[in-house]
Amino acid sequence: MSTHTLAVLVENSPGVLARVASLFSRRAYNIDSLAVGPTENPDISRMTIVLNLEGHVLDQVMAQVYKLVNVIAVSEMPTQSTIHRELLLVKVATSQLDEVLAIVARFGAAVVDEDADVITVEAIGESAHIEGLLKALTPLGIKELVQSGLVALERGAAALSDRTLSAQGISTLHEVGTQADYQN
């Protein structure tokens, strides 16, 4: 078993997240993390899906995802040349405030809200970075935390949108036939 990150471009149509989630559930692929958001193209959303599975299953997962009509492109993000980021918001007790602030500084995190009893810390980074910060903060009293799914972008000029059919010069315009045409 190993961890793989998939980037998926989908049409911004109703129910598309449910389609992808339903597929993963039905085929018993476990999702570690999933993040969805808009892209440079308002008609297209991008999902970043982190999976833990056997290598040979990955091709099958990608083929099944791509088979969904609303999915425009699927790609595995190369581990080495990809920027991975997660977002953490965490409320920490202020009883040992100096130590909290020292950790926040050491991890390059930021304080984004303060209260008499808790401060809210924001951190952005790779999974290991976020995990390290949480490990350091845990003994100081974490009241609540929320984490985003991982998002990933390949370094350099390469873009997932280059892998869509239309970017490859393949027309996605389909001629509408009638029953007679379908019969061959």
Binding site: A18, S22, R26, H56, V69, V71, A73, Y182
Partner: protein
């Protein structure tokens, strides 16, 4: 400015523009607006008795004709009653368009009367689906639905339309082109894959053409014949592919799988190359996957890239329409064969011996009752290979696949993937509607028949004269067979008492059909001929058959194909075979 019409009229005009001639359905509250313009349409609407019947009828129509089958039902229970036929069509790659009414858009999500989230429910069992709340979207959704259902790997597409979208005014404009950014099924195979496949075929001394239902979907049976005769390899046809290659052909070893012939099962097991055409390595064919065809390389040709490597690793994957793929393979193989043609003599000696030694057969019941296999065999012999045969699911289905002789594609319809009991009567109805001049036999079990027989009323009222042979062993026969084999004959809840209740002859009569009964072997031919002579109404024949007949050969579920049994506790005499 185009004339304004209702969304409902736009729907019916869209269906007319798609070129359909028939649809199967039942009206209800949410779909009611659509039924007003249907009243005036040239499209024939067949009013079924249960929505499941509408779905299977559309499937039977599609499988018999190659066209898209269409069904139309209302929201909530109407739509959920379509779930089984949609799942069935998805498993067997049948092109369907299902139209469902939905509650008005303002009521969606409120648990309104007859509301069901049919788009959500059917996501995993359709190729694609839509929820339409704006009447302006109707023509495009219908055009896309037909295109998606019928191209690439065929499948069911559901279009759910909110009632207010049917009622509101809109303009009708059926698109000539549609934009589907993520949908472009590959038709032409890659030249490199064709070359690699041809090279493997030229090197193989034990090849098998492993033919699946995709060959029939692709209308590639003629190309398959040329390919088979070029290679000279044994051909096996899966349950979904019966008829893709003539049973009478000398290269044919029959059906592989759980109830396949010894020769077909063993050919796959012992092959050094599987030339897989539109088959998906279903568990009913492979048996225990880890022991399936362990020495074989695999060429996997399919239109669906997601089938490649799903169950079995493919050494060469050829993605494309099978008619194109096979047409491209033939010259590539001819080129390879000019260098060296493989010698299949030894392979044929082995397979020919198995085929001769272990044909499918059956024993006459010792108690003098009628053999179910005999009944099915005689129906096939008397009605002939031009008829369409539609089976339910269970023992009678397997016997039909074994003892009917198929010579042509689209003459064998059954529920292969989902295994839907109750498929036969409505699917036969749909097949007869699509092929009115062809004799259509439903070979059904007494259990299956009691699930969907009400569609015989539809047949009787709409001049759809199908013939139904009930293979009445008063049991859920296949389940009973498993109880015999694996549960020490503890027949828990498999006795249906259908030789006592219901009286199928009276039931047929009550539904406007001719009802016949056959209880003696010597009457079988005469009763079949009598059924053949009745063409002005549906016919139901109650064939009362031997209860304890079993389907052989059999590979028990989860077992290796190497452990095929030709009768209870009896395996082929492998020592006498040179394998």
């Amino acid at each position: 400015m185009a004339k304004e019409i209702t969304g409902a009229s736009s729907l019916v005009k869209s269906l007319e523009a798609a070129g359909i001639d028939v649809m199967f359905g039942i009206p209800g509250g949410a779909i009611l607006p659509a039924y007003d313009p249907i009243f005036d349409s040239t499209i024939r609407h067949i009013l079924v008795r249960h929505e499941q019947g509408a779905g299977h009828a559309a499937t039977g129509y599609a499988q018999a004709t190659g066209r898209v089958g269409v069904c139309i039902v209302t929201s909530g229970p109407g739509a959920t009653n379509l779930v089984t036929p949609l799942a069935d069509a998805a498993m067997d790659s049948v092109p369907l368009v299902a139209i469902t009414g939905q509650v008005p858009s303002a009521a969606i999500g409120t648990d309104a009367f007859q509301e069901a989230d049919i788009r959500g429910i059917t996501m995993p069992i359709t190729k694609h689906n839509y929820l339409i709340t704006d009447p302006a979207d109707i023509p495009r959704a219908i055009a896309e639905a037909f295109h998606i259902a019928s191209t690439g790997r065929p499948g069911p597409v559901l279009v759910d339309i909110a009632k207010d979208a049917l009622q509101k005014m809109t303009t009708f404009n059926y698109p000539k082109n549609i934009q589907l950014a993520g949908y472009k099924p590959r038709v032409e195979p890659e030249a490199e894959a064709i070359r690699d496949a041809a090279a493997l075929i030229a090197q193989s001394s034990k090849p098998v053409l492993f033919v699946g239902g995709g060959v029939i979907k692709a209308n590639a049976h003629k190309q398959l014949m040329r390919l088979a005769e070029l290679i000279g390899a044994p051909v096996v046809t899966t349950l979904m592919a019966r008829g893709a290659f003539p049973d009478s052909h000398h290269l044919h070893l029959g059906m592989p799988g759980m109830h396949g012939t010894v020769a077909a099962v063993t050919a796959l097991q012992k092959a050094d190359l599987l030339i897989t055409l539109g088959a998906r390595f279903d568990d009913r064919v492979t048996g225990k996957l880890s022991s399936f065809a362990v020495n074989a390389k695999v060429i996997h040709a399919d239109i669906d890239p997601a089938e490649i490597g799903k169950n079995r690793f493919a050494d060469v994957a050829v993605i494309g329409d099978l008619a194109h793929t096979i047409s491209a393979l033939i010259p590539a193989i001819e080129k390879e064969f000019k260098k060296a043609e493989p010698d299949l003599t030894l392979w044929w000696k082995q397979m020919g011996s198995l085929r001769a030694t272990y044909p499918v057969g059956y024993n006459q019941p010792e108690d003098g009752s009628v053999s179910p296999q005999y009944v099915i065999e005689r129906i096939g012999a008397i009605s002939g290979p031009d008829s369409i045969y539609v089976a339910g699911v269970g023992q009678h289905q397997m016997w039909a696949s074994q003892f009917l002789k198929f010579e042509k594609p689209r003459t064998w319809l059954n529920s292969g993937g989902l295994g839907t009991m109750g498929y036969a009567v409505p699917a036969a109805m749909g097949a007869k509607v699509g092929m009115p001049d062809t004799t259509v036999w439903a070979i059904d079990g007494d259990g299956c028949f009691q699930m969907t027989n009400q569609e015989l009323v539809t047949c009787a009222l709409n001049n759809i004269p199908i013939k139904v042979a009930i293979i009445n062993n008063e049991s859920l026969g296949m389940v009973r067979q498993w109880q015999t084999m694996f549960y020490e004959g503890r027949y828990s809840n498999t006795s249906l008492h259908s030789k006592r209740i219901p009286d199928f002859v009276k039931l047929a009569d009550a539904m406007g059909c001719a009802g016949l009964r056959c209880e003696r072997t010597e009457d079988v031919d005469a009763v079949i001929k009598e059924a053949m002579s009745i063409n002005d109404q549906p016919v139901v024949v109650d064939f009362r058959v031997f209860r304890d007949a079993m389907v052989w050969p059999m590979v028990a579920a989860g077992s290796s194909n190497d452990d095929i049994m030709i009768a209870r506790g009896l395996t082929p005499d492998w020592d006498s075979q040179e394998l």
